[in-house]
Every structure is written in C-alpha cells, then in structure tokens.
C-alpha cells in the first residue's frame, strides 16, 4: 500500500509540477516559461509570508499576541477550505486519468489518499507560508520557550487536514447530488456557489468581529473579543490557542486527534461511494434521437464565440474559478441595494458617506470583476483540440478576438449592473455613474487584453487536467494577480489624490490612461501569429 501510494504520488508530481519539463525539456523557450512560472510563484509566496509576518507583528504591537495562534489557524484554514472546495471536482472526483488509475492494481483508498496527499502537500506549503511567519511575529513579542516552537510547527503541519476533509466531503456531496441531474454542470455550479457563499459568510462574520465601532472603542479588550469570535466559529482553535499560549500537550493532542480523525472518516466514507460518484459524473446522457432539422449559418467569429460560451458553461472548475469574480461582484452589489445604503452604513457606524468612498468603489468592484479573466486560460484550454483551429482557415487574430469578445461579453454586463447598483447605493449623479461605467469597461478591457497577452505568453497545451491551466497555470496566476494589484494601486492613488483635487477628474484620467493601455496591448496581441505561440 505504502510503496504504491508513494509511486502514485510521485507520478502525480512528475506529471503536474512541470519539474520534469525543467529537467528534460530541450526547447529553451519552454524551459524559460517553466522557470518564469516558478519565479512568479516564489514572488507570490514571499509577499504572502511578508504580509503574514507583518499582521502577526502588528497584533503583538497592539498587545493582542494571544489571539495570533487562533487567527493564523483560521486564515490558513479558510483559504484551504476555499481552494479545496473549488478544486475537489476535477481533481479528486471526475479527473481525467480516472479510468487509467482505477484499472491499475490500486485500491480505491490508495487512489483517494494519493490525490488527497497531493492536495495536502500543496496546502501545507501555503499553511507553512502563513503559520511560520506569523509564528515569528508572535515569538518576537511573547518570547516563548522551545516547546512552543515545536507545538506551533506540529499545528502548522496538521492545520490543512480538517478544512481539506470538510471541503472535499462537501465537494463530493455536491458532485454526488449534482450527478443525479441531467444538467450536472448547472446543478454542481449552483450547489458550489451556495458553498462558496457560506465560506464568504463565515469569513465576513469573523471580519465583522474586528471592524465594528464598539470593537474599536474597547481597544483594550480587542484581543479577547477576537479570540471569542474565532473560538465560536472554529472551535478547534480553542485547542490550538491553549496548546501555544499555555503549552497544553493535551489540547495539542485533541487538535491532532480531531484533524486526523476527520480525515480518516472522509477517506472511509468516500471510498465506499467513490466509484459510484465518478461513474455518474463521467457518464454522459446520450439520447440518440436526433432528427435532422433546418440549420443556421453564422459568421466565423460568431461560431468561435459560441464555442467559447459552450466551453465555459460545460466545465465546473472553469466556471467556478473564472466566473466567481463576476458572480460575486453582481451578488455583492445587489445585496448592497437590497440591504439599503442606510442600514449598510449604519452597520459600519458611518453616518455620512466620505466622498473618497465614491471614488474608490469602482476599483473595489473592478478587483472582483477582473478576477473573471477567461482570456488567461482560454487559449491553453484548447489543449489537444488545438489542431482544429490551427487547421481551419482561421486568421490568428480572429481566434484571439473571439476569446477577448467572450470575456468582455461575460464581464462587461456584470460590471454595468454593479456600477448601477453602487451608483444607487452611494447616491451619485448621472455624470459619476457614466464615469463608473466607463471605468468598469476599461478595467475589464485591461483584464481582457492583459489576460490574453499572458495566456499567449504562457500558453500550456500539454495538460492532463484542466485544473493545471485554470488554477495552477502561470497565465492564470499572473493575469489575476496583476489585475488585482492594479486595482488596489488605482484605488489608493485616486482615494489619496481626491483629498487634494476632484475625484471625478481623477477617475476620468484613469479611464483615458487605461483605455490607451488597453489599446496598446490589443495592438500588440493583433501582431502575434499562431506560430509564435507554439
């Protein structure tokens, strides 16, 4: 069992980590791309570690060190929960190499464990990137004994187990329920969205604990309030807090027992129904009752965009990962309208809307919207089908245009809805509303064109599982990361500068500048030929 498990795990890493490409690839361009992926991943990890350290150090500075262990656990767990939940379908269930693996002499438990371990190791890296720097920040204020360091490390190693098991179990249940419907993708997406909303609701409740007015007034009790909230929402944090702050070995054992126990239950339960779930998910409804009817003709670009729509709506991981930004932007803005501006502001203990907020909101919306960047991945998703577009009489520019049009059609309406909602909530005039809409469109234009450029530059066609492109691909990470950073920078710049000059003029300047950048990138893309891609 153990050697088979290790073999399977090793093969998964060799197949998915690009390390083999780094070792054996003779094409220098492909090697450089792989190196660029690792460099960008390293940069993101460094930034995350710096952020985690500063956060823990800041809490220590405010005299809230006791809350740091629980807080570190929660951050690590919520993110693990979110990513495992999204990833479980297509990796743990209904994965492409299912037939090949299940036909080999592996037990179902070995296959699940290998898949789960692969996810665990990846999540562990994230957990360590959060827990270790936060531990350092904590230690700089508390100066704990050696045993605390060991306890902290043990907790960091065990942290991903519980949220992963819960998320994978939820993902499995959704997959199982969804597989009973004819429109499996739709059913799974709706159920998954409910799950994601629940996770967001949970993290929002925790944030809420730290942001209301009373909380700030009682600054002396800040750590206590936070600890209580964290303990309420994530009870195992009681044990981790006790283990670190009071060096309680019993509490540590309790945490480990629950984490490992829940994982064991997950593997045992999933093993029983694993084949049934996968068979249902991977079998397809075939009515075989088609009768030839009148056909319609369309333009080539129409056909290509239609193909993109079908691709997007037929894959749960694609839809969930790339569509989530636009969905959240719309849901968030509609919720703001439903709750009403008065209640919303009252909950934040704000009586009068600061003018700066009206200038920052479009960028906050933009941050969510630009998370939906299908152009980062749509070219790579052609994968083994690339021969089709390459052998058809299609201009390279038409192929790229169709992918950009699809992204604009997907995100621009969501942007306009969000702009309208926030214009209503913030009671802005028509001119500001128009600027909101223009700003949204140029932001989406930037994410579309930059995403397309990244998608071409870091195209990867030799994938086995689309997750490799959608979640782990360099283009996907780069596209979303750059868009997010850009929106944050613009929000800070416009927010700060609006203190000394008219914010609306600043927004118009951003519209013009981003519009020019969009056009320049678009022009650059239109010069690329398909032979430059491969």
């Amino acid at each position: 069992m153990r050697s088979k498990l290790m073999t399977l795990l090793k093969i998964q890493y060799m197949n998915q980590s690009s390390l083999n490409a780094l070792r054996y690839e003779t094409d220098r361009r492909k090697r450089n791309r792989t190196i660029a992926v690792y460099v960008s991943m390293a940069l993101v990890i460094l930034m995350m570690m710096a952020y985690s350290f500063l956060m823990a150090y800041g809490y220590g500075f405010l005299g809230m060190s006791n809350a740091v262990p629980g807080f570190a656990l929660v951050i690590s767990s919520v993110v693990t929960l979110f990513f495992t939940f999204i990833k479980s379908n297509g990796f743990l269930f209904a994965f492409k190499d299912y037939d090949m693996l299940m036909a080999l002499p592996f037990t179902t438990g070995t296959v699940i464990t290998a898949k789960f371990l692969y996810m665990y190791i990846n999540n562990l890296l994230f957990s360590l990137c959060v827990m270790v720097p936060m531990g350092v920040g904590y230690a700089m204020w508390v100066h704990p004994s050696a045993i605390t360091y060991v306890i902290w490390l043990v907790i960091a190693v065990a942290t991903p187990l519980l949220p992963m098991s819960v998320a994978a179990l939820a993902g499995g249940l959704i997959a199982a329920v969804g597989s009973r419907f004819r429109f499996k993708v739709l059913a799974q997406v709706i159920l998954s969205l409910i799950g994601v909303m629940a996770i967001f609701g949970l993290s929002f409740s925790l944030n809420g604990a730290g942001s209301n007015g009373e909380f700030f007034r009682r600054i002396g009790d800040i750590g206590k309030v936070m600890e209580t909230q964290i303990h309420r929402w994530y009870p195992v944090s009681i044990w981790t807090d006790a283990a670190v702050n009071e060096k309680s070995i019993l509490a540590l054992l309790g945490f480990l027992l629950v984490s490992v126990g829940v994982y064991g239950v997950f593997v045992a339960v999933t093993s029983i129904k694993y084949k049934t779930i996968n068979t249902a998910l991977m079998s397809h409804h075939a009515a075989s009752n088609y009768k030839m009817r009148k056909q319609e003709s369309h333009s080539a670009i129409h056909a290509l965009v239609r193909k993109e729509v079908k691709r997007f709506t037929s894959s749960v991981p694609y839809l969930m990962n790339m569509g989530i930004g636009a969905i959240l932007a719309v849901i968030g803005s509609v919720v703001c309208v439903i709750i009403g501006p008065e209640k919303l502001l009252a909950s934040m203990e704000i009586n009068v809307i600061p003018k700066q907020i009206t200038y920052i909101v479009p960028f906050a919306v933009g941050m969510f919207l630009t998370m939906t960047c299908t152009t980062c991945v749509s070219l790579s998703l052609e994968g083994k089908n690339l021969w089709i577009v390459k052998s058809l009489p299609l201009d390279t520019r038409t192929i790229f245009k169709s992918k950009m049009i699809f992204n604009m059609l997907l995100v621009a309406p969501a942007g306009i809805i969000s702009s309208l909602c926030f214009a209503f909530v913030l009671k802005v005039d028509v001119a500001t509303l128009l600027i909101y809409i223009l700003l949204t469109l140029v932001s989406v234009g930037f994410s579309t064109t930059f995403g397309m450029w990244a998608g071409i530059r870091f195209a990867k066609f030799d994938w086995e599982n689309e997750i490799e492109v959608i979640k782990q691909g360099a283009a996907s990470m780069l596209g979303i990361f750059v868009n997010m950073i850009l929106q944050i920078i613009l929000a800070v710049a416009v927010g700060a500068l609006s203190l000394i000059c008219d914010g609306r003029i600043l927004m118009v300047i951003v519209v013009v500048l981003l519009g020019v950048v969009d056009w320049l990138i678009y022009g650059r893309i239109m010069k690329i030929q398909m032979r430059d891609v491969l």
Partner: protein
Amino acid sequence: MLEIRDFSKTYSGGKRAAEHITLTIEDGDIYGFIGHNGAGKSTTIRAVVGVLDFTEGDIFIDGHSVKKEPMECKKVTAYIPDNPDLYEHLTGIQYLNFVADIFGISAKEREERIRRYGDMFEITSSLGDLISSYSHGMKQKVTVISALIHEPKLMVMDEPFVGLDPKAALDLKNVMRELCKKGSSIFFSTHVLEVAQKLCNKIAIIKEGKIVTAGRMEDLVQNQSLEDVFMEVVEDAK
C-alpha cells in the same frame, strides 16, 4: 494540387523528423503515404495542413504556399488527424455547424451534406448528443463528416481507418473514390498495406524522415504485393 518541395523538419530538441521530402500529388490522385511508426508521416502531414510550423523547404496547395498564404491553402483543404480530439463539450451537430460556419457554408448546403454523410455513416441520430459521450469510432465519423462538409479540393488524412467499423471504412473508401472522380486529391497515411494497394493510384514510402521510393502503384508493385515491396524497400534502405 499538392506539391511538397524539399521539405525538412527539425524539432527544437534537435530531432530530424523529415529530410528533403519532395512529392507531387496531382488532381484526382489517391496518394498513400506509408512508413513505420515515427518515420515522419505525421510530421509531413501536419506541416501540409498548417498545424506544424516549418522553415526548410516549401509546400504548395493549389498553387499557394502553405508558409506565405496559409489561409488560401486551408480554405481548400480538409484534415483528419490520427486521433479525433474534438470539442467534447459540443454536440456532434454543433461541431459540424461550427466547422461549416468557419468555411462559410450556406445553411442549405450544410444541411444536405450533414444529412447525406450522417445517414451514410449511421450517426445522424447521435448528432444531438455531446461528443464526450461518443466512442472513438463515432468521433472519427464526425471528423470525417466535418472534413467533407466543404467539399475540399485536397483531403489530408492521418490513419483515417483507425477506429472505424468495417461498414464505415468501406463507406469512407467509396467517398474517397467519389471525391477523386470529381477532381479532388487525397493524401493519406496508413499502416494497412492491403487498403493502400486497393485504394491508391500512387504511393510514397518514408523511412527515418526520408522518402525511399515514390511513384505509381502499378509501376512499384507490378506482380508483387505492396507488403513485399514495402519490406524490400525498407530493408534496402538500411
């Protein structure tokens, strides 16, 4: 119709897959391309249809250079790859309409052709199902129909009979003959030498990226079987 002129291909790793290949396929030819696995058949075919980029030599389709005027070449060419990797999230009819839209085929014409070939290959009733639910053979049939939908002047096929049931294989052979009678040309690779002998009027044998013999079938085979000729030529080329 198709002229391959001194075509060579070296992959970025340094592997030389094709060396100085020169072939001419005329209107109405059914040209068989025969060779071992890894001999360079697919590399040549992929270069002809514009899927594979190349720098050495040139390929002309209907007088247009694949390098300089790829669109003109692709408009008159149909390609059937060795593995029918189609868009699995589309239904068969959606895929066929997609290809027809790209070639600008009118609604009436595509309807007629899909009906004709769909019935011939006995797949019409499954055209409303997702391609992901198709067997290998069904996907191959859809690929064949998509290749025929624009009545190509040149049809390039890489192992087209793999995965087809006996009736579909026979139907495809008949379609190939019919197309050639109308003046189109067919260039295809195969391992099945009996099929090549019965179907082709010309063949080329490739070994380690080099053409070892090419010409009219009757001149090359004479009283022997193609299998004997193939083994003889390949042994002599050692």
